[in-house]
């Protein structure tokens, strides 16, 4: 079951969903619109290695935005801290974003219960697109789960968004 906008509002009021800052105007019939933050991380090298650390650089994006290059992946934080101790958040682009050929994640749409943080969006543009900090870019939905809840304790728990991939840790490689 997916929560309606009213149910999201009630869960926020009860403290079972974290969305901060929260504005009722961003509630949809069954989702909440989130915004790009102001920080964007790109990898320093074109070739990436999933088994090793990939050096990267964070920039504060100016109000005039940046044009995304289709040949690059951009990690961008959300303005909002988002998460839930009770529901499974799943993110997707707003249709207006998708109609520009802009992906907001790269097949990683599901957030673990108990992971409460600014999201790290994975922006990929099919054609060059200019994007702006604080733009309304995507939606988060909340799904009811079945079974005992064991909250997320994974490797991104204490990272600052946008966080680069920690895939290399799966190979026993340390920082």
């Amino acid at each position: 079951m997916i929560l309606t906008g009213h149910a999201i509002q009630e869960a926020v009021d009860r403290g079972e969903i974290a969305i901060s800052p929260f504005e009722s105007a961003c509630l949809g019939p069954n989702s909440y619109d989130f915004h790009l933050g102001t920080k964007c991380r790109t990898y320093d090298s074109l070739v990436l290695d999933s088994g090793r650390p990939n050096p990267s650089t964070v920039q504060e994006v100016p109000p005039e935005g940046i044009v995304l290059d289709p040949k690059r992946i951009y990690l961008w934080d959300t303005l909002e801290v988002i998460g839930s101790s009770r529901y499974v958040p799943i993110i997707r682009a707003r249709s207006s974003t998708a109609r520009l050929g802009l992906f907001v994640h790269v097949t990683a749409d599901m957030i673990d219960i108990g992971s409460i943080n600014r999201l790290t969006l994975q922006l990929h543009a099919v054609v060059p697109v200019r994007v702006y900090p604080r733009m309304r870019v995507g939606q988060v939905t909340f799904w009811v789960c079945s079974g005992e809840i064991v909250p997320y304790t994974g490797k991104y728990r204490d990272t600052e968004s946008p966080a680069g991939s920690l895939s290399y840790r799966d190979f026993g490689v340390s920082d």
Partner: protein, 175 residues
């Protein structure tokens, strides 16, 4: 409703979900991790009709190139006649710009196979055999069911499209 990690483990113990091999360490708060089988088919605009080479992923890794489509599969066999499944990428590989499916994320009840992955990268990415690359989530259903009996039922390796028309990549001379 989506199953939590403990609910997935209970369903495996009851036989309502088959994950082979199953390792409790791969349970997440609301999904189960899968790993990359060490063979990939590679298709590109210069592939000749029906001629899609199958590459082995060496222990030293395989460099995936943008502008190509790779068909891989999971190490694990997934099967359930009770729950529907969805396949997502791991955030650690999404953050590297690696797609694990091309908007085909639903696993039907009754299918029993290594799940074929449609892999595409934004920047060149090196991948390794058996690395943890994504997650499967399990969903309760409502209504009578007719389990899947389709043409990909017992795939044990990555399997190119069985739709002959879809397999007809343009020849270089035709492109």
């Amino acid at each position: 409703m989506i199953l939590t990690g403990p609910a997935i483990a209970a369903a495996v113990a009851k036989g309502d979900i088959l994950i082979e091999p199953f390792n409790p360490i791969d349970l997440n708060p609301n999904s189960y991790n899968y790993h990359l089988f060490p063979e990939l088919y590679k298709a590109s605009a210069s592939s000749h009709q029906g001629d899609i080479p199958c590459l082995a992923i060496a222990d030293t890794g395989l460099l995936l190139e943008p502008d190509c489509l790779y068909l891989g599969c999971t190490d694990e066999i997934f099967h359930s006649t009770r729950y529907a499944m969805t396949l997502v990428g791991r955030s650690s590989v999404g953050r590297l710009g690696l797609f694990v499916n091309i908007s085909a994320d639903l696993g039907h009840m009754g299918s029993c196979n290594r799940w074929t992955l449609e892999i595409k990268v934004v920047q060149p990415v090196i991948v390794y055999p058996h690395q943890c690359i994504g997650q499967v989530a399990f969903w309760q259903t409502t209504g009578l069911s007719d389990p899947y009996a389709g043409r990909y039922q017992h795939d044990e390796r990555p399997y190119p499209s069985k739709d002959a028309r879809l397999l007809s990549l343009p020849r270089e001379a035709d492109a």
